[in-house]
């Protein structure tokens, strides 16, 4: 593949090895979220990265022309994390418990060592006897030119026709 010239040599021409490494990386990511280590989670993002959750029940895909649920640039993502560390982020005080499940990890594109990665997700959030379920597909652009990998963009596309849990206060 032409696109993998940017990859470390051990991952070149070996899609299974790259996918394995990618799965390890994504498992690490969700583990950090499960444990509320959100500052460490933020450190997985490259400078200038974006984080987005598009509207439910539509195929609108540009935050400049339609209203998303979340459309963070790097600074606002950092501030989202800062906010969640405060107990005045009332919707997460006391903190909810979470479990993130991912599957169907696929590398759908590779250019200059930056991989397009998709995976299915189900995220459970429990608080005060209510379990919220979020599900859909994560779409990433992940810089694999060096390890540790760095997330350049993450978009979580909900496969829900409306936002039944009401809030999007955790990172799904």
């Amino acid at each position: 593949v032409n696109g993998d010239v940017g990859l470390p040599s051990m991952l070149r021409n070996d899609t299974a090895a790259l996918r394995g490494r990618m799965e390890d990386f994504l498992y690490l990511e969700v583990d950090l979220l499960d444990d509320w280590k959100i500052e460490e989670w933020f450190a997985l993002f490259a400078e200038g990265a974006t984080y987005e959750v598009p509207p439910t029940g539509s195929d609108e895909s540009d935050p400049a022309t339609s209203l998303f649920y979340i459309a963070d640039d790097y600074v606002r993502l950092r501030e989202r994390v800062v906010r969640l560390t405060k107990k005045e982020a009332h919707s997460e005080f006391p903190r909810s418990q979470q479990r993130h499940m991912i599957s169907n990890v696929r590398i759908t594109g590779l250019a200059d060592g930056v991989a397009d990665v998709s995976c299915n997700f189900v995220t459970y959030r429990a608080k005060r006897g209510v379990v919220d379920t979020y599900y859909g597909k994560h779409l990433y652009r992940i810089d694999c030119t060096a390890e540790p990998f760095r997330i350049k963009s993450k978009r979580s596309v909900l496969a829900m026709d409306m936002l039944y849990p009401g809030k999007l206060t955790i990172i799904i």
Partner: protein, 427 residues
């Protein structure tokens, strides 16, 4: 005979003692919700949608309003309709998509079809149906009893004898104007908006949407964010304009108006918008001043307004413009639809900025709305103690001499007095 509504009183106002109390049963009781459906949602003007959502001829959207399933559409000639989305034949919902563009509607159950003006359009073989079916209107889609609009905001009323919309809106029209006038070419809904659930009584969101008292306690993390990114601008260029306060707009509608601490894409620049946007936003502001004069132009640029139109429409012109409506699904559950309003024909970068600004505060993923939802859901859970602790206190500002402040609770009292009067009128 409705005992709920006659005894005991659920809204108690004691002006002498400066006490205003609302029974928590109003938020928890299934029979209260049923009475609200009859006394309020069957008689008040309810927001349906914005002209821009059905911009082209034959555009349609489907929407649940007032417990009904409706079709909101434009026919081939461009006339706007609202139909009850149920086949006159056997009842199936005729249109099942959320939106689209169609020359006709066809019920999938038995194939009855309709022109987009609602007329029965099927032609069955002779012997199947009499003339009445084709000419008499008994097979046409039923229109909602009343459909009227003000400045591109369309409302329905299920009471054929309701007062005209313009009369119902009363003082709220002036504040709708302050939004609709922000762009000469008009305003439009951006994208499909946000749809979500809050596990709380619908009236809690009516109160919360115009409640400035909760701003600092609930939203300190949002203000911290503004401070960090350099966007908290407390000083007001329009300090000579003393608009901060609250206005009773009649018929249960109310608005609070105040100097903005945040940036407003319409015409209030803050540093986080970037230096490149500064002249652009200054020009927008000059445009408003030119069109409306110094005072009104400054007011539109600098000041923020949270307005509730009774019973369930919120138009908040704050760090962005949100139009929000909500319907009870149960005493402890509502569905919320929220849209962003932007200028029609808006420049790409300004539109982007407007939406970015919207999301810093508003919606389920914003830095503020989720904490409002948490507050409302906490209230609802707290009402489980209703048998021991039965009353809410809405008295703030009652002894104040002079006009009410925007962080008093008079705007909520306007809502509750209207609620009381309408609920009391049911027999």
């Amino acid at each position: 005979m409705d005992t709920i509504l006659t005894t005991p009183q659920m809204v108690v106002e004691d002006r002498g003692r400066h006490l205003f109390r609302v029974a928590r049963r109003a938020f928890t009781d299934e029979s209260v919700l049923e009475a609200e459906r009859r006394a309020i949602f069957d008689h008040c003007w309810l927001y349906l949608g914005h002209s821009s959502e059905i911009a082209a001829n034959c555009d349609f959207i489907t929407r649940a309003v007032g417990g009904r399933e409706l079709i909101f559409n434009r026919d081939r000639a461009g006339a706007v309709h609202a139909f009850l989305n149920t086949c006159p034949h056997r009842g199936a919902m005729v249109v099942r998509e959320k939106k689209g563009n169609a020359l006709s509607f066809r019920c999938f159950y038995h194939g009855w079809s309709f022109n987009v003006n609602g007329r029965f359009a099927s032609r069955f073989d002779e012997g199947n149906y009499g003339k009445e079916h084709y000419g008499g209107g008994c097979a046409d889609l039923a229109q909602v009893p009343r459909l009227e609009s003000y400045r591109d905001f369309w409302f329905v009323n299920f009471d054929r004898n309701a007062v005209p919309l313009a009369d119902y809106l009363a003082g709220a029209k002036e504040y709708i104007d302050l939004v609709a006038d922000q762009n000469e070419a008009g305003m439009e809904v951006v994208g499909s908006g946000q749809q979500y659930i809050i596990n709380a009584n619908w009236k809690l969101l009516a109160e919360n949407s115009i409640d400035a008292f909760h701003g600092f306690p609930v939203h300190s993390t949002y203000f911290d964010y503004l401070k960090t990114i350099g966007s908290l601008r407390m000083e007001s260029a329009g300090s000579e304009f003393s608009a901060s306060g609250m206005h009773d707009l009649g018929n249960g509608h109310a608005v609070i108006e105040y100097a903005s601490p945040w940036g407003r894409p319409v015409a209030r620049w803050v540093p986080s918008m970037g230096e490149d946007k500064r002249p652009v936003i200054a020009a927008l502001r000059e445009g408003l001043v030119k069109r409306f004069g110094e005072q009104r132009g400054t007011r539109m640029s600098e000041f923020s307004r949270n307005m509730l139109i009774f019973p369930n429409l919120v138009i908040n012109d704050i760090m962005a413009i949100t139009v929000r409506t909500f319907m009870p699904a149960a005493p402890n559950k509502m569905t919320v639809s929220a849209w962003a309003l932007g200028s029609r024909g808006e420049d790409h970068d300004l539109r982007k900025l407007r939406l970015f600004n919207f999301l810093e505060f508003l919606g389920p993923g914003g830095f503020a709305t989720p904490d409002d939802q948490e507050a409302l859901e906490n209230c609802q859970r707290g009402y489980q103690n209703v048998r021991e602790v039965g009353w809410n206190d809405i008295s703030k500002g009652m002894p104040r001499q002079g006009p009410p402040m925007n962080d008093d609770e008079e705007q909520m009292r306007c809502f509750w007095r209207q609620w009381r009067d309408r609920m009391g009128a049911v027999s």
